[in-house]
């Protein structure tokens, strides 16, 4: 098949149809009388036969290199050649950064409409492999910022489409790092100072709680949920930490938290209570998931983050006077109408966290004793994760060496993956 014809046909399809989904096909269209043959066009879906992909790419590459190498004066003809060739290059290979750079230049010079470029990227994102390239996500960000230059209002509704895109991509390609960091970025673009933004964050947190329940092993989702929690806390108190750069060392050495400690008394106590309630409910929610879906590292990691956040809340004065809020109304029902086990409702003091771990370990031991076949692997994982959480809590609270030593020796016994606990155990024993 003539390459020039293939290239022109593909561009004609893209010019005359609003394509919504794109895919590579292991075969070509059998309707040879069709004007778009060998491409397959069904409704708004376009299939490119795999057989011709390299031919089209090489051809587009030749045109692109030839035209961009020329002088800088853009005639209509060269602009069209650049638009079409970069479009073909990027459809086949979203990592082709020079083609994306050229498209940015064409946007600056008003040859490409940025809103149409966003739609074009939407189309690219229907092809899973393209969503794993950081450069195309950056291109998207750049185009959005470009559009915003000409918008006077910062209307939150404009971000809804971005949220939808990241959600679709995260489902197409689970744990997609760039989709989730893009979504974190959206949270930062929305300020925390209006009623609309607060209801946006409330809603986003709600969406994420539902999402993680359906994607229980996807830690990236939990990470985003954490960012939502932080952002919503900032709606209540704009001095609330973004947690950038804060880790266990800071908590143990009580550094990077001093500024929050000051002026705590003057804080609106009902806002503080709202923040504490938010985090407390999240901890309860996570423990409930851990009991319902045993053996998931992601859930336990999320709980690690929350326990860390809880200590930070305490050190920063949000849990002033150690008031134990009465959230433990008997008979509380969650969204799914399940009664919540009382162990999940305990106030997240370190002793209660340790108790939760031990409760999970006991449950596993009971189940394994009853029936050896019951989802054995997830049970073993649950036990290991629970012991690890106990170790995490112990170290975070700077507990006695003996507590830590006992835990490490237990973990060394059951750990068959890394050498970590074995080495630590030797260190403590010597």
């Amino acid at each position: 098949m003539d390459v020039e014809k293939l290239y022109l046909t593909l561009n004609r399809i893209l010019d005359t149809h609003e394509i919504r989904e794109i895919g590579l096909l292991p075969y070509q269209s059998t309707q040879s009388d069709n004007e778009y043959c060998p491409f397959l066009l069904i409704g708004s879906n376009l299939g490119i036969p795999l057989e011709y992909v390299d031919k089209i790419y090489k051809h587009a590459h030749g045109i692109f290199m030839n035209v961009r190498g020329g002088d800088n004066i853009k005639s209509n003809e060269t602009v069209n050649l650049l638009k079409d060739s970069t479009r073909c290059l990027v459809i086949i290979n979203a990592d082709c950064y020079s083609a994306l750079n050229t498209r940015k230049k064409l946007i600056i010079d008003n040859y490409i409409n940025p809103t149409n470029e966003l739609k074009f990227i939407d189309l690219l994102f229907t092809f899973p492999k393209h969503t794993k390239q950081s450069i195309i996500w950056f291109h998207r960000k750049w185009v959005i910022l470009r559009i915003q230059l000409h918008l006077s209002s910062n209307d939150i509704s404009q971000w809804q489409h971005e949220i939808n895109i990241t959600r679709r991509v995260a489902e197409l390609y689970p744990k997609n790092y760039y989709a989730w960091t893009h979504r974190h970025w959206i949270l930062l673009k929305i300020t925390t100072d209006s009623i609309q933004s607060k209801s946006f964050f409330v809603n986003e947190l709600k969406i994420m709680k539902i999402w993680v329940q359906n994607n229980i092993s996807d830690y990236s989702g939990f990470q985003h949920l954490q960012r939502c929690l932080i952002r919503l806390s900032q709606c209540y108190d704009n001095s609330f930490s973004d947690f950038y750069g804060i880790s266990r060392k800071d908590i143990l050495k009580k550094i990077n938290i001093n500024t929050q400690l000051q002026n705590r008394d003057s804080k609106n106590s009902s806002d503080s209570d709202s923040i504490v309630s938010l985090w407390y409910k999240e901890i309860q929610f996570t423990k409930d998931l851990i009991l319902r879906y045993p053996g998931h590292e992601s859930l336990w990691y999320h709980l690690r983050f929350l326990s860390f956040g809880w200590i930070w809340l305490k050190l920063s004065g949000y849990l002033n006077n150690l008031i134990e809020y009465n959230f433990n109304d008997d008979g509380e029902i969650d969204e799914n109408n399940n009664s919540i086990s009382s162990i999940t409702k305990k106030w997240p003091e370190s002793e209660n966290e340790l108790e939760f771990s031990r409760y999970c370990i006991n449950q596993v031991d009971l189940l394994i004793n009853q029936d050896n076949d019951v989802r054995f692997e997830s049970m073993v994982n649950q036990k290991q994760n629970a012991l690890t959480y106990e170790l995490w809590i112990s170290e975070l609270n700077d507990r006695t060496k003996k507590d830590t030593k006992d835990l490490i020796s237990k973990l060394a016994e059951i750990s068959i993956d890394s050498n970590y606990y074995i080495v630590q155990n030797k260190k403590y024993s010597s």
Partner: protein, 328 residues
């Protein structure tokens, strides 16, 4: 590839042939899809060959000539002739030239100028190119590049460190930007960059080391984030960081070696991301560097900070910027 029998040894000759053959596959779609980053491919291949004691398998003259042809007037390098300059490819170019001992073939001052111009004065972060993408990967590229050129004075190092530290998370790991999830490859970039500027004391080493060890799975392989699949390239991102922190012995060495060896293509050579998949030069290098850190025989030692053969780093007189506590 043949997975019926487990590979138990490193297929040195096959890997050398595999890397040599990469440039002859111009009819493959894969060749064209990676055309824009061919310079990276040369770095991955050349470093792998050096570790395999076969650096001459690619002709030095050709390699240097090619690298020179990728430099632009502004000092930066593009991923291939005709593409745009970018910090990623600028580091790869410098790494290749250092291996070949051929820095005098290019205008070093212009490279320094280009790299320095990538730093954002306010945040200390680095942008990949003039379009402004920010990522901790680029912080590593800039600092590694300038360190190899011995021109760290050209940027604001303390600001650069400040930005990297903003990307540290509660688990001791690092993400690509402040607030982003910890990711083993980003962790290598951040810890490597901190090592280069003598700031390892800022790393929560015990906590991070623990998190990194939790990347090892039952099959011996390592993943890069919780509940992700194992992948040979994490043998590098995770191990190099543990090595920099002097905690390499926290990993189950034997199981990881077995995993990497099983991902070799026993017919065509090269190493894949995991057993049974297609080999590529990226995973070939990071499988080999992983094995090298694990002190596998037949391989030259690799420097965990610069991802260059150790003898190269020694030749240019750079100090070792990592802690020593390897396998006993």
């Amino acid at each position: 590839m043949d997975t019926s029998e487990k590979q138990t040894r490193l297929l040195v000759d096959l890997h050398v042939k595999y890397i040599q053959s990469l440039d002859t596959k111009k009819d493959d779609l894969e060749y064209w899809l990676t055309e824009h980053l061919r310079l990276s491919g040369v770095y991955w291949g050349l470093t792998a060959l050096d570790l395999l004691n076969n650096v001459d398998a690619l002709k030095k003259e050709d390699v240097v000539k090619y690298v020179v042809s990728c430099q632009h007037d502004n000092g930066g390098f593009s991923g291939h002739i005709g593409h745009d300059p970018h910090l990623l490819y600028t580091l790869y170019a410098v790494q290749i030239l250092v291996i070949e001992d051929a820095l005098d073939a290019v205008n070093v001052d212009k490279i320094v100028e280009y790299v320095a111009s990538r730093q954002d004065r306010d945040t200390g972060a680095f942008t990949g190119d003039e379009w402004g993408e920010i990522d901790t990967r680029f912080s590593y590229c800039a600092l590694s590049c300038l360190s190899l050129l011995k021109r760290l004075d050209a940027v604001n190092v303390s600001k650069a460190v400040e930005f990297i530290m903003l990307c540290k998370n509660f688990d001791g790991g690092f993400g690509n930007s402040p607030g982003a999830e910890s990711h083993a490859a980003q962790i290598f970039c951040c810890v490597g960059a901190l090592a280069i500027v003598n700031s390892l004391h800022l790393v929560d080493a015990d906590l991070l080391g623990w998190w990194l060890c939790e990347r090892q799975l039952k099959n011996g392989g390592l993943n890069g984030r919780p509940e992700k699949l194992e992948d040979v390239c994490y043998s590098w991102w995770v191990l190099s960081t543990l090595s920099i922190l002097g905690r390499l012995h926290w990993i189950n060495r034997e199981k990881l070696i077995e995993f990497v060896l099983t991902a070799q293509d026993s017919e065509g050579g090269g190493i894949a991301d995991r057993p049974g998949d297609m080999a590529d030069v990226f995973h070939t290098l990071f499988g080999l560097t992983g094995l090298s850190l694990l002190e596998y025989p037949d391989l030259k030692p690799v420097d965990p900070v610069y991802c260059l053969p150790k003898h190269v780093v020694q030749r240019i007189g750079l100090a070792e910027r990592y802690h020593h506590k390897e396998f006993q």
